[in-house]
Amino acid sequence: MQTNPSICFYFQVHQPDRLRQYRFFDIGNDHYYFDEFLNRTILRRVADTCYLPMNALIKDLIVSTKGQFKVAFSISGSAIDQFEKYAPEVLESFRDLASTGCVEFLGETYSHSLASLTNPDQFTAQVKMHSDLIKKHFGKKPASFRNTELVYSDQIGKMVSKLGFSCMLTEGARGILGWKSPNYLYTCAAAPKLKLLLRNFKLSDDMAFRFSNQSWNEWPLTADKYVAWLQEAAGDAQVINLFMDYETFGEHQKASGGILEFFKAVVKLVLAKGGIDFITPAQAAKKFDGVAELNVPYPISWADEERDTTAWLGNELQNEAFSKLYALSDKVVAAEDAAITKDFLRLQESDHFYYMCTKFFSDGAVHSYFNPYASPYDAFINYMNVLSDFALRVNNKLKQD
């Protein structure tokens, strides 16, 4: 059967709970860890520059194309919590998108954590929590899965398959693909029923990172040019996966640079030219068969040149904070305390470890944009102070019981 090639858009929506400046004198005295003001300020800003205008734009596209345009979102539990607190109208506009039936919401870990790398129980619990949250807000349990930062390995694929997901999104990393193309479906080597969608990093990053880069030799990027690239890639493809942060539109790249208009023009032009349709991950998994098994013995991600996990777990600061955090997980479960469980989730957000990354000393701009700390050492000290207090609380709670 002859099938059209497809384009699969997936946007990541996540906002971390940034920590306040937490001095060692606070340990044992003050159990509030988060910088409410900063988190609210950033969320409100991004809501106005990106979430609201972009949701409206996507809604328009879906309506005006009579449902031919489709997208997928992965919204972390952390982000949904923040929407509820600071910008309920954003959540409302996502619900509105859900009601069109053209938008798929993906499963992920509740707190955008890296639990898949160290603690299967935590991972499973968080994925279930997140699925319930998505069902609560958008009416349907997720069928497709994307792990934090597209982290994936055979092992993780196996866990995800056991949790009932039929497909999973990850990076089309050169290191694992070799000569193979990311524009096909693959299957997980450890769980053959799980289909894998691989990010086309070239075409994704053209839009997400290079669009407003004036020193790029393809600048300025027009919709005509970009769609020509898409068609060229589609000539020999099942599905072209364009995965990026949702904040690309209006926040990382300012609306004044034309990114929103560009996006709209690309969608319209693709449909006008015909031959390529839009699809969501779950639909892609139904429509196409996997062409081959993919072996990924070590975890990959979508970050940096290396496409590995060293942006979060690459130096001794990160490893120490990470292992000290997860060493508490059995105790946290035993403590059975709502506030403690909530904080434990928030402390697992991958962002906290990203702030301790020393790689940005050499590989700059992207990392520093996301970082509220002046140096990884500051980030580590602050985090460890918070974690020290958290550990005290957990231990005290267990002593009480």
């Binding site: 060692f24 004198f25 001794e316 600061l317 020393t358 140096s375 000290i381 460890m384 102070n385």
Partner: protein, 424 residues
């Protein structure tokens, strides 16, 4: 190159920096003629030809009358300077000396060898002026392409050499009067510094921090001010093995106990840390200075004297030993043009906390940086280094790599470029 001191006889960091720089320049094929007021003969003559200004007769006979006129003219500018550097510390001492000496300029004997002390002291201004005259003589006796003068003590010498030789002058700012005295600047020193900067073809500063001071407070055209960060030379210093007799972690402040170095912030931070963890940590303040007694009183008043120790002035191997004893090194300087001591600590594998108001903060990435006034941040950083071993491992390992990469050869390469830019 006009300096004030050269190893092995040094009072401050300037001599050490000159030594490293001269060696680095040599590796970049630049020959250096190093002039200093009082050489003892045991300086390392393999890196540069050392000229002892005490051995040179002022005003050589080869000069034409016009030259002499120029020189006299120039010296008259110098004669307006009052011979003291700090009104509080030197005022009285100098007053009495001035009474016995009368008008000191008239006492300068033009055909006489003058024995320079080469030390910082009451007759400093006089030495500065004499040094300048001798410099003019030296400039006529030797062949060279560029004049390089270090810090205000030698600026006059640099200007004098430029006047008689017509060769370009580069002055090197290792510290300004604002760093030494805060806002209570000695106007005479300031004038001398400004004169040097204005007369220079290029001004080199040891950090961007200092560059800003030169541009903003001295009003120097930014186009001629270039930052060349200092480096360190550890060759010849061996690893030191010490046995420690205290089980606690040792947090160290090492430096002159003066306004510039911010000792009070270290004490306040120590009190905060000790309040939180009364066991397991000790603080050491090594060095001496005009704020020593005040510091001791403050430590006593805070009731932390059982955990806070003063060593007095340390010299030679004791400095090395102190670093080897330390678990954390703190430099809370209020204003530090560069600051070499954190590098020495890091070289010993000791993690360091430095103030953002230090030039060295511009080149170090693996040191924890805090604002000098932010006692909370400082104590928090100390606490982190005491309590979180991963932080120590990382800062120590990466810090060592980092200091080992700060080579004088690289700095000298930049200096050479500055030279080339003024030699037309």
């Amino acid at each position: 190159m006009f300096g004030w001191e050269f190893p092995p006889h040094i009072a401050g960091g300037l001599g050490t920096a000159c030594y490293g720089m001269v060696k680095g320049l040599l590796h970049n094929d630049v020959e250096v003629l190093f002039v200093m007021p009082s050489a003892s003969g045991d300086e390392d003559g393999t890196v540069a030809k050392i000229i002892n200004a005490s051995d040179v007769e002022a005003v050589a006979s080869t000069s034409t009358p016009i030259d002499v006129l120029e020189k006299l003219n120039f010296l008259r500018i110098g004669s307006n300077m009052v011979p003291y550097i700090d009104p509080i510390a030197f005022g009285e001492l100098v007053e009495s000396e001035r009474r016995t000496q009368g008008e000191w300029l008239e006492k300068i004997n033009f055909k006489q060898k003058y024995k320079f002390s080469g030390k910082y002291g009451a007759n400093l201004m006089e030495e500065v002026a004499r040094y300048a005259m001798v410099a003019a003589t030296i400039a006529t006796q030797h062949d060279f392409d560029v004049i390089h003068a270090h810090d205000w003590l030698t600026y006059l010498a640099g200007i004098a050499a430029k006047r008689v030789s017509g060769k370009p002058l580069v002055i090197h700012v290792h510290a300004t009067e604002f760093d030494r005295s805060g806002e209570r600047v000695n106007t005479e020193v300031f004038r001398l510094e400004k004169m040097g900067m204005e007369a220079a073809d290029r001004v080199m500063t040891v950090s961007n921090l200092t560059r800003n001071i030169v541009v903003n407070k001295y009003g120097i055209n930014p186009a001629k001010v270039v930052t060349v960060h200092n480096a360190v030379d550890f060759s010849g210093k061996d690893e030191l093995v010490v046995t420690r007799n205290v089980p606690e972690k040792v947090v160290t402040f090492l430096g002159r106990i003066t306004f510039q170095k911010g000792p009070e912030y270290f004490i306040e931070a120590a009190a905060k840390v000790l309040k939180r963890c009364p066991e397991g940590v000790r603080f050491v303040m090594a060095g001496s200075g005009d704020l020593l007694n005040k510091s001791i009183r403050r430590v006593a008043a805070l009731g932390i004297a059982d955990k806070f120790h003063f060593t007095g002035f340390l010299r030679g191997m004791d400095v090395q030993k102190m670093f080897a004893y330390s678990d954390v090194y703190v430099m809370p300087s209020v204003s530090e043009p560069f600051g070499i001591s954190p590098l020495e600590a890091m070289r010993t594998g000791v993690p360091t906390i430095i103030s953002k108001q230090s030039g060295v903060a511009e080149v170090l990435r693996h040191a924890i940086k805090v604002d000098f006034w932010d006692v909370d941040a400082l104590s928090d950083a100390i606490y982190g280094l005491i309590k979180y071993p991963a932080l120590v491992d990382m800062a120590s390992r990466c810090g060592l790599d980092e200091v080992n990469s700060l080579k004088w050869d690289h700095a000298a390469e930049k200096i050479k470029k500055v030279y080339e830019s003024v030699i037309e």
